[in-house]
Symmetry: C2
DNA sequence: CAGTGGTCTAGACCACATT
DNA sequence: ATGTGGTCTAGACCACTGA
């Protein structure tokens, strides 16, 4: 209510001091309002720089859940990533489109995650060209057969200076293709869980697309969803 | 850090005034700390009464996501619930156990949700005995064949005075059984999406268990997950 | 250097619960 | 009447950013 939309993506919003002065409210009240906007994912704030509008397109068809993105990758704990097809520059119109890229090219590769109990997930990972350049040199993503506890998100955050803010997930069920059977050690046409994740950073830019297939006998996706508590 | 665990479920915690005095902090600082605990789902607060510990058992294996529970039921929009098997008192050891009931009995029924495009979901709904008594009289749940835009959550909240706080979800893929094929209009052994939801109220008590099977060609589960922003 | 957001203190008034 | 959490004001200091 406080701020009149619309703001263009990445547009800088008025500062706390300005709003406090112009609206005749205390700074703490303005801060509370901004804090709520951040919680709703409408703006992001950078200490020393200001407050900015998030890129739009969150078309409301999605449930908005708030939680540690790190935990989405909870499967990462105690699991290794194995390179099946190294990350390489590829033409992938669909992936490029879903990440809203201007080109048809992305960096893409095929990977597998395994537990002690065996492989439970095959993932195709796609990243935009500019981010892929730096990543394609890591053995963890580029060397066929290499196993490591790597996570693409970690590399994006640590080495590329990106702050991943969240992901859009689409979850469905599919039949196992011959390729999936081979990698997941399941029967042909048996049901597999498919989860697509489109990651975005704090500015709303899409930074990674993963298409994940899970062997349901070795993995169940568990999520706790909580009603937004305004307390 | 502020408060030393453990607190028993529903145990009353010190008030803001007490902590502020005893710890030598301002009340606003204590409030901020409580606010964070609420966000993490560790306590709940009731105006005029106090602050209470949430029932334990959240064993940490779950991703904690924060979002409007109402939206979990987003599928509820523009969809009707059809009674396949009315809500009735039944012995269901597994359901009773998952809801941590003392007995082996629950109220359970089978329902179906349909779009204009046709049925897309079959759901088995289980509620504890004490809650079921009041619900089994609603036509929306008790009369075979009845279709209505009902939601069990709505009834729990509006008529039973329960505040649903969230749900534990387990998501996996299964093969369609003959019964599911009939109801979901899909092929035998085709993949279906299964989502189990265990709902709890603000005190941490489990109030409903639903076992949902989706026809993946008519429904995809979409969720936006965001990293918890402490801003 | 001035401006930004992040944190903290201190005090006020309110609606609501309990006694 | 008392005590609870919810909200607001007013002012302070800090770390960090950018010019």
């Amino acid at each position: 209510m406080l701020l009149e939309r619309p703001f263009r993506p990445d547009e800088r919003l008025p500062t706390e001091a300005e709003l406090s002065r112009d609206l005749g409210l205390s700074r703490q009240t303005v801060r509370k309002a901004f804090s709520d906007l951040v919680s709703e994912g409408l703006v992001y704030r950078v200490p020393g720089r200001g407050t900015f509008a998030v890129q739009g397109g969150q078309d409301g068809r999605y449930l908005r859940a708030f939680g540690p993105v790190d935990d989405i990758l909870a499967l990462t704990n105690d699991s290794d990533l194995e390179v099946l097809q190294p990350l390489a520059r590829t033409i992938d119109i669909e992936a490029a489109g879903r990440m809203r890229q201007a080109t048809d090219e992305v960096y893409a590769g095929l990977f597998r995650r395994e537990h002690t109990a065996g492989p439970f997930m095959v993932t195709r990972i796609c990243v935009p060209l500019d981010l892929g350049h730096g990543l394609a040199e890591h053995d963890s993503f580029a060397k066929p057969g290499v196993r490591s506890p790597a996570t693409m998100i970690e590399h994006l955050e640590r080495d590329m200076g990106i702050s991943v803010a969240g992901a859009l997930q689409s979850i469905t069920a599919e039949s196992a293709t011959p390729e999936l059977c081979k990698y997941l050690e399941c029967a042909l046409d048996s049901p597999v869980l498919r989860i697509d994740r489109l990651f975005f950073d704090v500015t709303g830019r899409f930074v990674e697309l993963t298409i994940n297939h899970f062997n349901p006998s070795r993995y169940t996706y568990r999520v706790e969803v909580r009603r937004r508590q305004t307390a």
